[in-house]
Symmetry: C2
Subunit: 206 residues, 2 copies
């Protein structure tokens, strides 16, 4: 029976299974790619019937959302403290790049899976999604990771030259995401050294 709390608290089994399914789904996506990943293959990896996965997640979209949520939570936990420790915009930019590549190197499969989802996912009408949906509680912390406003703050404080904030943000995000793809292509790629090059490049650029 459920606990005597209000009826919204999940069972122990429920939470463990969901976490197990999410973990296995991340592995499968990182291995064979999101496009080739099916609920059947995830269930096979977990070692249960496919109906079990769809019992714990209403449909495929909800499973994908849970994967993204888990990744965002760990990324925020790794990066936000590093940014909060910096007083200047230039310092926060360095911390953003360094904590980002550090997260990539320590959470490789998780990041690859989420990036693959973000690049592959389309709505029913074929539109890409701007951002994977996350819990409302994460929005505040996610705002701290908005590069464009970080650049603007640095410009207002006179730390940065007056470049186009959006363009440089797009460029840096592209450079960071490409680090994940490069790691997928060549597992020996040194992501941390790459991050230090980015620190130099974007320090000179701003």
């Amino acid at each position: 029976m459920r606990s005597n709390q209000r009826d919204d608290s999940p069972t122990f089994t429920e939470r463990a299974r969901r976490a197990q399914i999410v973990a296995c789904a991340i592995e499968v996506i990182a291995e064979i790619g999101y496009a080739q990943t099916s609920i059947r293959k995830i269930a096979r990896r977990v070692g249960v019937a496919m109906s079990v996965v769809l019992y714990h997640f209403a449909n495929k979209d909800e499973l994908v959302r849970a994967i993204a949520m888990a990744a965002y939570r760990s990324a925020v936990a790794a990066m936000v403290p590093a940014l909060d420790a910096e007083a200047t915009a230039a310092g926060r930019l360095r911390a953003y790049i360094r904590s980002h590549v550090a997260f990539i190197s320590t959470h490789r499969t998780q990041f690859m899976a989420v990036l693959d989802i973000a690049l592959s996912y389309r709505s029913a009408t074929g539109h890409r999604l701007d951002q994977l949906e996350v819990d409302p509680g994460l929005h505040g912390d996610l705002a701290k990771l908005d590069l464009e406003s970080l650049f603007r703050q640095g410009q207002e404080a006179g730390e940065f030259r007056p470049f186009d904030a959006r363009s440089v943000a797009v460029a840096l995000r592209g450079a960071l995401n490409n680090a994940v793809l490069e790691t997928a292509r060549d597992p020996g790629f040194d992501v941390l050294a790459y991050g230090e090059e980015l620190v130099v490049v974007f320090a000179a650029a701003t």
Copy 2:
């Protein structure tokens, strides 16, 4: 009957159909994404039976290869002359960025389709492909578009500071590819202005 040439010259119908199918495939991929694109949907867009597509292309892979070939050919035709007109490595870097973003803005759907393929495509074992296969005849010109060796040449000539050529190449490729994704997310994104920002950023960085 076929022409009196040796038997490898395609019919007029053959070449026209292949070109038509490739063009429609690019449209479909750009609209709904490579993952959701099927031979059936391409055939529907062309207005023929699915078997017609598979009559002109042995299988899906050969069709994808033809799409990539067409895109590479037009990209090489647009970018290589711009690079050849420059005498210095710094000039070639500027020409690379400017001709690249110009190509993106003039061949948007084509570039989006090929990038989508490159990001989505996996081998049977799940590995990404490093590079889409192209005609041997294109390899020479494609080598001129290798950013890493461009950076190395500039360093040997003393034009560039001694940064890690591969890292900066990965960063620039990521920044340029992200321009295509940003355009997909926001059709109003000014790719040419973005390119000028990149010229400034990577001039300062090198």
